[in-house]
Symmetry: C2
Subunit: 179 residues, 2 copies
Amino acid sequence: MKQRIAIDMDEVIADTLKARLERYEIDYGIRLDLEALNGKHIYDVIPGEHRQQVRDVMDEPDFFRHLEVFPYAQEVISELAERYDIFIATAAMEVPFSFTAKYEWLLEHFPFLDAMHFVFCGNKGIIAADYLVDDNPSQLRNFRGKGLLFSSPANKEVTEFTRVNSWLEVKEFFQQQPG
Amino acid sequence: MKQRIAIDMDEVIADTLKARLERYEIDYGIRLDLEALNGKHIYDVIPGEHRQQVRDVMDEPDFFRHLEVFPYAQEVISELAERYDIFIATAAMEVPFSFTAKYEWLLEHFPFLDAMHFVFCGNKGIIAADYLVDDNPSQLRNFRGKGLLFSSPANKEVTEFTRVNSWLEVKEFFQQQPG
């Protein structure tokens, strides 16, 4: 039986943060520097009175439909799919208005994946896989297999997981795995 | 750590079949007998030319919103939640227009469950739980833990799993489990 890799969506294959920052600039005329986000979430660097609207953007049914794909995600996942069973595991229950947009985005950008391997969940402790590629340290802590921390500004200080900075580094990691 | 029970939705906590038969009678004026379904799926007992429409009913965004809850499902799951971590695991990827309806139905009828424990998936081999209560033998075969087959007309002939005929029998089963 093939080993199984579960892959997160937001900040791993879909550039949610970039879209949120662009939208913030449109709504408030303020350009946030990615550098300023090191070790921080977007909510930590904006005024308190902007937080609700910045959160509410993610409840717009189309917000998740038009995100950019992370560089090399398609190529590397397509290669990995030859050796591993690939599942997409996204914490969609945190943004329940996003279900349809996330599903359609996956069909568009990852047509080679099996939709029966898409998982919309909350807590990723429920995921039975050998590996999980995720930017969220809390989800990697919930997970029972081997976690790979995909670098994002918010997780820069986290040291407890194997870190991958890009999809090319994910590719390198799995090239070094046995089997 | 508590043991974990994953629970299917359709034909286990939500009476999808009853709603489909009622709808079939409305659309075609034919009342299908539940007895006639023993060992069979709805598609096996209707004329071929009705199949597409009977399938398409499940793509209506509201179809899954108004299903009846199975008798005692709420009471028994509420009790089980004291001893076990409960997850809801539904093969929603087979009916992707149902996401929102299924989510809202769960919030309405099972408000005591944690939405972070809802899982919309396809293949339930991805579910990391100790038990899965499901009416679909294929999903129980995919699953890595202990499967309980919840009786439905289509699975009447299946003998390879522990069978439970009602939520009262589910309750009894777990009363007999250690821990």
